[in-house]
Amino acid sequence: MINFFKNINFLFISRLLLGFIFIYASIDKILDPLSFSNLIDNYHVTPVFLNNLFALFVPMLELVIGICLIFNLNINGASFISIALLLWFLFILSQALVRGINVDCGCFDLNSGSLDDTELRKNMIERIFEDIVLLGISLYININSKNN
């Protein structure tokens, strides 16, 4: 079993999966940073004046680590940043959930349309579980990747 998880093919699939997810998540945000910045405002975690900077930088970081993961470039750094990003996403989503802030996640697409509060909350819980799974994959890649 341990050998199976250490198998290089499994590592390759994990890198590919995580890489594509990060690239997919970044596209909408890169195209429309203003809407993403407004979504960050709604989390009420970061100071408003910094949110335009975050909205510009975070999606680019997602894109770059997505490319690195797919092409096996700077894999150690990419997986480490992916862990840090996912921990941050988990923190902001969980705090919003605990504080009763029903926010449009903005994780993949910026327009969830007019979801009602129950749907938004359900979405947020789903995203938290997704992030936990992705965090596991990132840790797996980081631990098992060879230095290049």
């Binding site: 680590i65 990419a78 802030i101 631990i143």
Partner: protein, 209 residues
């Protein structure tokens, strides 16, 4: 866990350079954002200070629960629910009017409201959103919103000052609607950010249909 600082720094520098490139292709995107909403301090319960505050409003302004409730109790403002009609039908602040942000552009274009507001001539228009009926109009160069015609004809002070709410702190519909109405030339707009969840938690008056 393995950490290679060189890798991390390289990735961050590449991302920063790409972000900078993206920034140069953006129009009207300040690097440091200014909050559009004005924050409001605490109020005494004296009617005079509240009235002065409302009369001096120039742009959408944030109010907290205490001020929102005070304005509600004094009947100084009309509450506008910016959520969709379905959420409004389930529960809303008592006596509020549903003006869904998702439909506002449609309503404005259907009734040519932008032109009518700019014209500043008196008019009244009945709006029906899935059976929720209210009236929009201009009277003596003031924009009115009311659940009944009689209130508009009585030139009620309440119906020309607005406080907009939606689903609480994570919801931007109230702010979006506030700035949209402001762009049409409507000045007396307040945004109650706590919205439905906070109002509900405090046991304040609600309509459950």
């Amino acid at each position: 866990m393995k950490i290679k600082y060189k890798d991390i720094i390289q990735i961050i520098i590449i991302s920063l350079v790409l972000s900078l490139c993206r920034y140069f292709f953006l129009d009207d995107y300040p690097l440091f954002k200014e909050s559009k909403l004005k924050e409001v301090g605490e109020f005494s319960s004296e009617s005079d200070s509240l009235l002065t505050f409302i009369n001096n409003l120039k742009s959408p302004t944030l109010v907290d629960l205490k001020t929102a409730k005070l304005l509600y109790d004094k009947n100084f403002v009309t509450f506008i629910d910016a959520r969709d009609n379905e959420s409004f039908s389930e529960q809303h602040i008592l006596s509020s009017i549903n003006l869904p942000y998702e439909l506002i552009e449609e309503i404005v274009s259907d009734y040519d409201l932008e032109y009518m507001i700019q014209l500043k001539d008196d008019f009244t228009q009945k709006i029906d959103i899935n059976g929720h009926i209210f009236y929009i109009g201009m009277l003596n160069e003031d924009f009115y919103l009311s659940q009944s015609m009689s209130k508009i004809n009585n030139k009620s002070f309440t119906n020309k000052n607005f406080i907009i709410y939606c689903s609480g702190h994570g919801c931007s519909l109230s702010e979006d609607l506030g700035f949209y109405l402001h762009s049409l030339g409507i000045k007396k707009i307040l945004i109650y950010e706590g919205g439905m969840p906070e109002w509900l938690d405090n046991g304040f008056p609600l309509n459950n249909d």
